[in-house]
């Protein structure tokens, strides 16, 4: 399992290629990449800023990934999470799961994304032409996570 929190831009295709090279015989690889959008709810986004708590953030994401791995019996997980100043079009988060069968791979990526949305110690601020604002998880995010946790 690999969890990386990084200030540098990363290339999801290259990360996925490197991850799957190590596990060619596994059967199923599912991935998700979230990108910085150029607009949120019609409001243009200039720069997205994501703050971490160094050390703590990495360990907490590792704990969430361990939890998913235990629940779903995946063979390997990869999480890359960008922090710092992120521009539209850049990748924010990549989650990849290798498993023997496709259902486990899909479920692992989806569940880990749900966990990250609500439980990863990261704080987002969007800067646009009309100022900055901190983002907090919505009731919808919490509901989705609760549902995901039950379903699997």
């Amino acid at each position: 399992m690999t969890v990386r929190v990084t200030e540098e831009p990363f290339d999801p295709g290259a990360e996925i290629a490197a991850f799957n090279t190590a596990h060619g015989h596994a059967g199923a690889l599912a991935t998700f990449t979230g990108y910085c959008r150029a607009a949120t709810a019609g409001r243009p986004v200039g720069t997205l800023y994501i703050e971490q708590y160094p050390g703590f953030t990495q360990r907490e994401i590792q704990r969430l990934a361990d939890d998913v791995s235990r629940q779903l019996g995946t063979l390997d997980l990869l999480v890359v999470h960008r922090v710092g100043a992120i521009r539209p079009g850049e990748a924010i988060v990549l989650v990849a799961a290798m498993a023997a069968h496709r259902a486990e791979a899909f479920d692992a990526v989806r569940l880990l994304m749900d966990y990250l949305k609500t439980d990863a110690p990261l704080w987002k601020k969007e800067s646009g032409p009309d100022g900055d604002r901190w983002i907090e998880p919505t009731a919808h995010d919490h509901a989705r996570r609760a549902k995901a946790g039950e379903k699997v």
Binding site: G34, I50, E51, Y53, G55, F56, R59, I61, H81, I92, V93, M113, L116, K117, T118, D119, A120, P121, L122, W123, K124, K125, W134, I135, E136, P137
Partner: protein, 84 residues
């Protein structure tokens, strides 16, 4: 000296001098620390005063307000997370 860490929007409100601070002798628990902050920095105290604020002591989340604070502790205040 205690090290106080304010994350996200708390960091923007907190006085940077709080990063390294000598706490008064009477501040011996997390609850005591919150009371002291609310008095010294009312805007910050108000922002922290939510059931959704989490506190980590030496990088471990702690929920018990009576948790003791000792010399050199790193105490972090975390607003609701918005990762992913």
């Amino acid at each position: 000296m205690a090290r106080l860490v304010f994350l996200g929007r708390f960091r923007e409100i907190a006085n940077p001098a709080l990063a390294q601070v000598t706490l008064p002798g009477g501040v011996r628990t997390l609850a005591g620390l919150k009371d002291w902050l609310a008095e010294a920095e009312p805007a910050l105290g108000k922002a922290l005063d939510s059931a959704r604020t989490q506190i980590a002591v030496n990088q471990v989340l702690v929920r018990d307000p009576s948790h003791p604070i000792v010399h050199d502790d790193e105490i972090a205040f975390l607003p609701p997370m918005s990762g992913g």
